[in-house]
């Protein structure tokens, strides 16, 4: 009876397989699933792989957190600067009927100069404490959602801009 000699399975050694999502999977992990033996080398690689993965997750989370915090800080800075300028503008133009006089006030011009990042702040202000921010909104966004028949109708102008702001995703 001829005995068959079973060739030992060739051991290619630890290999890293790269799944589509870019994380290297230790070869021994596949072996775990298929019941293959594990070695100390495999375990070391596993630990290293886990550490690597943990590190990547941490880095991504850290960057997201940092980005979020930076965004919040920038937003708070814009709001704070806006509030100071708006207060000055309100006080110093409270008796003006001239829209041109209101719009060329240095504080108002500085608000316009803050650019698109102040648009959500302007719209929230328009919702909470309506005032003549229409010129600034038009100057910054180059849009004018107010229909001709609503020119000068303050409530209708406010409503048109708030509707536009929601449509554009600037405010909820």
């Amino acid at each position: 009876m001829r005995s068959e000699v079973l060739e030992p399975e060739a051991d290619p050694g630890p290999q890293l397989h790269e799944p589509a999502w870019g994380v290297h999977e230790p070869s021994w992990l596949s072996g775990w699933v298929t019941g293959k033996k594990r070695s100390l080398t495999d375990a070391t690689e596993y630990v290293a792989g886990r550490m690597w993965l943990t590190n990547k997750v941490f880095v991504v989370a850290f960057h997201f957190h940092t980005w979020h915090r930076v965004g919040e800080a920038a937003s708070a800075e814009v709001s704070s600067a806006f509030n100071a300028l708006a207060l000055k503008w309100r006080v110093e133009t409270q008796f003006a009927s001239s829209v041109n006089e209101m719009a060329i006030h240095p504080a108002y011009q500085q608000i316009i100069g803050m650019g698109e990042k102040v648009v959500p702040v302007l719209l929230r202000e328009l919702e909470r404490r309506p005032d003549h921010w229409f010129w600034a909104l038009k100057a910054i966004t180059r849009q004018d959602p107010v229909p001709d028949e609503a020119r000068g109708d303050f409530d209708a102008m406010v409503a048109a801009w708030l509707r536009w702001g929601r449509t554009q995703g600037y405010i909820d």
Binding site: R90, Q94, F95, S97, S98, P130, R151
Partner: protein, 160 residues
């Protein structure tokens, strides 16, 4: 609103030396002095260069005294030479600094304030005052008086 109400001692006006004023409404950003003088308390009138605000059609959209006179002329007013009460006439006054219109006031024609003037002070309050008392660094001086016969506005009688 972060706005203090008009102060009778405000050096930008002449109220301190000319009888002060009576407050007749709360603050509002919804209408201004030009609208108020024209009898409209629902819109902000101004010939702004961005074409954002109401300005009567066919009136020159310019920030000049002549353009403002043209607007009130389109409402039936004619330029006259005095601010005294004249029976049967409505009167308005246009204030200006240089050639830049700044303010308008409307004469009260009946009631215990007849002969005084009513003004909307920008986004601030409505007041009743002597005409010249609104003069000063803020609004400059009265530049034009206009009158029209008859039809008093719906806001004609101002209670204080």
């Amino acid at each position: 609103m972060n706005r203090a109400k008009l102060n009778p001692l405000d050096p930008r006006f002449g109220f301190r030396s000319r009888g002060g004023f009576d407050e007749t409404s709360s603050e509002s950003p919804k209408y201004n002095c030009i609208a108020w003088a024209a009898g409209d308390d629902s819109r902000w009138w101004w010939p702004d260069s961005q074409n954002l605000y109401f300005w009567p059609q066919n009136s020159p959209r310019q920030e000049t005294v002549d353009a403002f006179v043209a607007v009130f002329a389109s409402l039936g007013f004619c330029v006259c030479d005095n601010s005294a009460v004249e029976d049967g006439y409505d009167k308005i006054a246009i204030f200006a600094k240089g050639d830049k219109p700044t303010h308008a006031a409307r004469q009260i024609t009946s009631g215990n304030q007849a002969g005084r003037w009513t003004s909307k002070m920008g986004k601030n309050i409505d007041i009743v005052h002597d005409l010249e008392a609104a003069s000063g660094p803020a609004y400059g001086e009265v530049r034009v008086i206009m009158r029209r016969l008859g039809s008093h506005t719906s806001n004609d009688t101002v209670s204080t």
